[in-house]
């Protein structure tokens, strides 16, 4: 062997050694950094899904969040990111909020700055909320009903606050109101559909009855904003706090520091706590770095709440001492495929049912990331974290997860296509998991002779120009379209309406991509808007719609989304809030 060759081999050996050492350290780092001490010694895997881990009322310390990306905005009136909605409870309290508790309890509404949930008029058109007395902003000035009205007003100007939901513009009886910024002398407090009879009362006037209105005012958009302190697009840099913490500093897209709000009392929002002395959120942190720092104890919570990356996932699941600090949480999302009722031969329900039976759910689950970070096999449209969910399995997805090929062939024969048929499938080509799921579905359906032609599209225009455009879908025979769905609030209406109500079919940006216009489903939605219904009666409608939609075989449920969350052992009062599908940030503390 020549000298240079020996040297080359030696260099390779050194490099390989370095790499192996790094890998070995990766698998062993957790055990050295997370000692089995203190109150955490008894916790188990996913303990935070069903109960409170590390309950404590100890105060002090710095609670450190890190986020892989940046917020759309910290302005409570200008955000549509679920993690920001969760995080905003630290500094912005809306009229109504969610109960702070694990499990299904966390889906229930609770008063925020209002004394109770809304009182609806007999005709269902006026919702009245009374504010608690003694509420103050961070600077000590009192909160009034007009501040709530103004908070709603400013969300109308989408040129200044473009990101938030548009439910108020859709539901309230003054849809053409331009917002308070244009012609301020005229439009400030000019929204006629929100009235303030006295400083402690806010009334919302709707165009038509909407039983879920309490959920709408539970959005961060109703957190009060003082008109004279509103800085419009710059309000995100320092929202005026009504929560337990207030902004001390914020370097845009880099880091924010929040300190205790001296003018906040637990009475203002019993669902939040003020335990840590300081809350720091670091933005734009490398995702793998977040995982490693979490396990090293340098940061406390991954603010994004979408779970650890693949490398950390493998490390956690193979190491019991790390696994016990992690939670496998349902995200509230459903990953599924639309089956279009207007694309032949899927116009025939039996052909659609053949797809339901032939799909291999286990493969789908693997494609979406496996049982922990991907999801649980789905058999209904409503995920388990939605009020009204009822476990059913009409196509044996749970009992025969690899597919029931005999039943599929039987359905194909019933629809006059015994040898199968050809159909197009649309998916988002820039989403690796969706690509895998599409390929998996293609392979599964091929087993019964259904020839699936894959068509990939960019996610940015997927709903506007391709899958969400019925004309395009018809022209390209896209009978199957991959999709994912999460609701803005956790009840059947919030989840099902946009997906399955016949009146939501639109020429562009269509969310009812299967083009379902089933009179039975439509009637049930209409029935649910009856203001005379009790909550229990309304809730009973959602599983009926779910079952009817499954009977129509227009949605192929694949997995209920899940994510593997990791919590620093030092964090107290930690649990998964079912509504957010991530930890409840409003109650966290940190032990010294």
């Amino acid at each position: 062997m020549t000298k240079p060759r020996k040297l080359a081999i030696a260099a390779c050996a050194v490099l390989t050694g370095l790499t192996l050492a790094a890998c070995a350290s990766a698998s062993g780092s957790g055990s050295s950094n997370t000692a089995d001490v203190g109150p955490n010694s008894n916790v188990s895997f996913s303990a935070g899904v069903t109960g409170v881990v590390n309950p404590s009322s100890a105060q002090g310390g710095t609670l450190t969040f890190a986020e892989n990306s940046t917020p759309d905005s910290f302005d409570p009136g200008n955000t549509y990111y679920s993690w920001v909605w969760d995080f905003s409870r630290l500094y912005a309290t809306p009229l109504v909020t969610y109960k702070s508790c694990p499990g299904s309890c966390g889906l229930q509404l609770a008063p925020g700055i209002a004394t109770g949930l809304g009182q609806v008029s007999d005709n269902g058109l006026v919702w009245t909320y009374h504010l608690k007395h003694g509420l103050k902003f961070e600077d000590g000035t009192p909160v009034s009903a007009e501040d709530v009205k103004y908070a709603v007003e400013r969300t109308y100007d989408k040129s200044v606050l473009p990101n938030g939901p548009t439910y108020f513009q859709t539901l309230l009886a003054d849809p053409s109101y331009p917002g308070p910024y244009q012609d301020r002398s005229k439009n400030l407090m000019g929204l006629t559909s929100v009235t303030t009879p006295d400083p402690y009362t806010v009334q919302f006037h709707l165009q038509q009855p909407f039983p879920d209105f309490n959920y709408v005012v539970a959005l961060p958009q109703t957190a009060p904003v003082p008109p004279d302190r509103d800085t419009g697009a710059n309000y995100q840099l320092h929202p005026i706090s009504t929560g337990p913490y207030m902004f001390q500093s914020y370097q845009l897209n880099s880091q924010a520091t929040l300190v205790r709000n001296p003018n906040w009392t637990p009475n203002e929002d019993p669902e939040a706590k003020q335990l840590a002395s300081k809350v720091v959120i670091k933005l734009n942190v490398n995702a793998d770095d977040i995982d490693n720092r979490l396990m090293a104890g340098d940061i406390d919570i991954d603010a994004g709440g979408t779970g650890v990356q693949a490398a950390a996932q493998a490390e956690i699941l193979s190491n019991p001492s790390l696994m016990k600090y992690s939670d496998d949480a349902l995200t509230g999302f459903l990953w599924f495929a639309y089956i279009d009722t207007k694309v032949a031969p899927l116009t025939n329900v039996a052909c659609r049912e053949a797809i339901e039976y032939a799909a291999d759910k286990t493969d789908q689950q693997t494609a979406y990331g496996g049982p922990y970070a991907g999801g649980a096999i789905a058999s209904t449209v409503l995920p388990p974290t939605i009020i009204g969910y009822q476990k059913t399995d009409p196509y044996d997805a749970l009992t025969q997860p690899n597919g029931d090929l005999a039943a599929a062939k039987s359905e194909l024969a019933a629809c006059g296509q015994p040898n199968g048929f050809t159909v197009g499938l649309a998916y988002r080509s820039d989403r690796p998991r969706e690509v895998q799921a599409a390929q998996s579905l293609q392979a599964a359906l091929a087993r019964v002779g259904i020839d699936v032609q894959l068509h990939g599209y960019p996610s940015g225009t997927y709903y506007t120009d391709f899958a969400g455009s019925p004309d395009y879908v018809h022209q390209h025979d896209l009978g199957i379209d991959m999709g994912g769905w999460g609701a803005d609030w956790p009840d059947g209406y919030g989840f099902l309406d946009e997906l399955t109500n016949g009146n939501t079919i639109a020429p562009s940006g269509n969310t009812n991509i299967e083009e379902l216009n089933d009179p039975v489903v439509n009637r049930m939605f209409a029935k649910a808007t009856n203001p005379a219904l009790t909550e229990a009666q309304e809730t009973a409608i959602w599983p009926q719609i779910d079952q009817q939609v499954m009977k129509d075989a227009v949605i192929l449920p694949e997995v209920y989304g899940k994510s593997l969350l990791y919590r620093n052992p030092a964090v107290t009062n930690v649990y998964v809030q079912s509504y957010f599908g991530m930890y409840n940030y409003a109650v966290l503390g940190v032990s010294s």
Partner: protein, 404 residues
């Protein structure tokens, strides 16, 4: 050319007249401004003109910035606010005007004035671009300067030693490591460094940027890993370049002459050979440093440093055109200025350049010219072999810069 020799010898070592240097700098600055305008036009065309040519209209462009489920009037409102409804020429003029004279922006309740240089407002965050870049700049400068010191000293030293001990174990080992350094991407070496020295052994725990004004020790400690990681890539390259240059230079006649004159070997190596070798190294160094100051994308992403690199990535992810325009302009500025500084440094490092800087009327290098002109071309002032070295360096440096 025989008469030129005494003239050159007499000018060697003399400082350049101030007016010569000022003329040179003014010319280069003029060129810089022209270059930046061209860069701005190209960037603007890429992000504003090409989408139009591809069939996207202003309404569709504006729709990207109005959140989910926007109404038609909301999109039109945004179109007007972002100025996308105006002709492209007007939009470009507004952009240039903002840099020179500042501009006003509607933040909702009031109009905000953005003083020059105003690179516009982010289409996403609606915040002025320039202060965001200024906030990110110290991070990138800290990273780039620190790493540059390491790689320049380390790379050149290793290269010189390797050349002097050609074929030795040190030479082979150092060149082997250099090859690894050039080959391994930052996101690999960076993650390995973090895994070993931050997470496992915690020598540099919780790496994050701390301003030097806030805590100089913590600033340095937290930047050690990024510096070393970045410098490893570049030092490897510089070591190989220096070694090649030194080997070539050591075989030149003037080195033999220096030795024949009885000069000590240290003087021969440092004052003669290294000096000649450094000229192309400086060229590449200027380019590299300029590029890095525009944002070390991979290093900043790997170590989560909130510098211009991260700013760039975020701007691209968000399709935030004003931010992209701003960072491209700033990066171009750094590259051009760094090159200008390198050219000035040439005169210090290489006497042949200094000779060539003299006006033609006084210098024999352009004696054939009928009118007094300034000569500032490395091709004519630097020896042919050295220039080739620089060209090689430039081509081999590109992958490294792309990976930074």
């Amino acid at each position: 050319m025989g008469s030129a020799r005494p003239r050159r010898e007499s000018e060697r070592g003399r400082a350049l007249p101030v007016h010569v240097m000022i003329t040179f700098i003014v010319r280069r600055l003029t060129t810089t401004i022209f270059l930046l305008i061209v860069v701005s036009m190209i960037t603007f065309a890429i992000f504003f003109l090409i989408p139009r040519l591809a069939g996207q209209n202003a309404y569709e462009l504006a729709a990207q910035y109005v959140g989910r489920n926007p109404t038609r009037s909301a999109i039109v409102q945004m179109e007007v606010k972002l100025g996308l409804d105006k002709p492209l020429v007007v939009q470009y003029w507004q952009f240039l005007k903002g840099i020179v004279a500042g501009s006003h922006y509607n933040d909702g309740p009031s109009q905000t004035y953005c003083p020059p240089p105003c690179f516009g407002y982010s289409f996403r965050s609606q915040q002025p671009v320039w202060p965001q870049m200024v906030a990110a700049l110290p991070v990138t400068v800290s990273l780039a300067i620190g790493a540059a010191v390491l790689w320049l000293t380390g790379g050149v030293a290793i290269g010189v030693l390797s050349a002097l001990r050609r074929g030795s174990l040190f030479d082979r080992l150092s060149m082997g490591v250099a090859l690894a350094g050039v080959s391994l991407p930052i996101f690999f070496t960076g993650l390995i460094a973090l895994e070993l020295f931050s997470y496992k052994w915690a020598l540099f725990p919780n790496v994050q940027y701390v301003a030097v004004t806030q805590n100089p020790l913590l600033w340095a400690r937290n930047l050690v890993l990024p510096w070393i990681t970045l410098a490893f890539l570049y030092a490897a390259l510089y070591a190989r370049l220096t070694r090649a240059g030194m080997l070539e230079t050591m075989g030149e006649d003037f080195i033999r002459t220096a030795r024949a004159k009885g000069l000590p070997e240290r003087t021969v190596v440092v004052r003669h050979a290294l000096r000649a070798t450094l000229t192309p190294i400086l060229t590449i160094f200027g380019m590299d440093l300029g590029l890095l100051l525009g944002g070390a994308v991979l290093t900043e992403t790997t170590f989560s440093l909130p510098g211009l690199g991260q700013f760039t990535i975020l701007a691209i992810q968000n399709q935030d055109f004003p931010e992209i325009m701003g960072v491209v302009m700033l990066a171009a500025f750094f590259i051009v200025v760094a090159n200008m500084l390198v050219d000035i440094l040439y005169a210090t490092v290489d006497p042949r350049v200094r000779v060539a800087l003299w006006p033609c009327s006084r210098s024999a290098t352009c004696a054939c010219s009928s009118r007094p002109t300034m000569v500032w071309s490395r091709r004519w002032t630097v020896s042919h072999s050295t220039w080739n070295g620089a060209a090689r360096s430039a081509s081999s440096a590109s992958p490294a810069r792309a990976r930074a």
